[in-house]
Subunit: 167 residues, 2 copies
């Protein structure tokens, strides 16, 4: 079968998150799907981020981040925080700083506050791990939004190569 790489990788299940970063008083937040747990004890997560994104610099400087889990009725928040970081995407949004300084969205299904642990190159992204030092479920009866249910929101199909690289 010939399926495109975008179709194939679409079978890997991901949620949708607004990742918050902070360095001093500078803050930003962006929509991400590439988030997963990587350890039970200590509880850790990994996040794959485009290093060309201005938030990556804040992340490296501030060395902490939040993971805001979006619910299945929050496609609008996903689109808002998925926009390029031209304007202040946090302006007009309901948020508060986590202990580490990164933003917690008031209406997120759940959130984690994380301390950066390691950064490793991963192709066109950087894979960042962090230890979760706090967090809470804010909407216990809601279901998490799945990336596959966001459709072509982020236009990512154009970012894949036409074929697999050679082994």
């Amino acid at each position: 079968m010939n399926s495109s790489l975008a179709e194939l990788f679409g079978r890997i299940s991901q949620g949708v998150y607004v990742v918050g970063v902070a360095a001093g008083e500078r803050r930003n937040a962006f929509t991400a799907a590439w988030v997963m747990q990587t350890s039970f004890d200590p509880p850790m997560v990994a996040l794959s981020i485009n290093p060309a994104h201005s938030s990556f610099q804040l992340l490296e400087q501030g060395r902490n981040f939040t993971v805001n889990v979006l619910a299945d009725d929050q496609l609008g928040l996903a689109a808002h925080f998925g926009k390029p970081a031209s304007a202040d995407k946090l302006a007009g949004q309901a948020w508060r700083p986590a202990p580490g300084g990164a933003p917690i969205l008031r209406d997120a299904l759940a959130w984690l506050d994380c301390r950066l642990d390691a950064v490793v190159n991963s192709g066109d992204h950087r894979l960042v791990t962090g230890v979760a030092t706090g967090g809470s479920i804010q909407r216990p009866d809601s279901q998490p939004l799945l990336y596959r249910d966001t459709g072509a929101l982020d236009g990512s199909a154009a970012l894949y190569p036409a074929a697999f690289p050679a082994p």
Copy 2:
């Protein structure tokens, strides 16, 4: 709100996979939920694995692995490959070797063949990245199994600490 860490991390959406490893003629496969994409070009994935697992040695030696995506009707396969690696879990299963040698399950929804790129410590696990060099969708009309729909299959709630570590 006080929610347990298991409940909180359960809001991070994950699929369910059978990860195959091979080193020479030695092969194994195990059920994993901590798999995600980490790069578009080259296409890459990350996998978080318990280093005490015998498959981790095969992975480090053979330096390649497969990711078999399970469908929502394959909870039985998830349970089978989630058992401790006492007996040969591949015996009696329908599989073939990928170009890299690791097993592709005949009935998986989709599969990827990956070349190991990096290994980084991540708490009680090791985070492994790999470049996908092949793959296919085998069941285009099936839905991927979600980890949250496997219930307490793996007993993982007992693996979390009682509280977050200090910042």
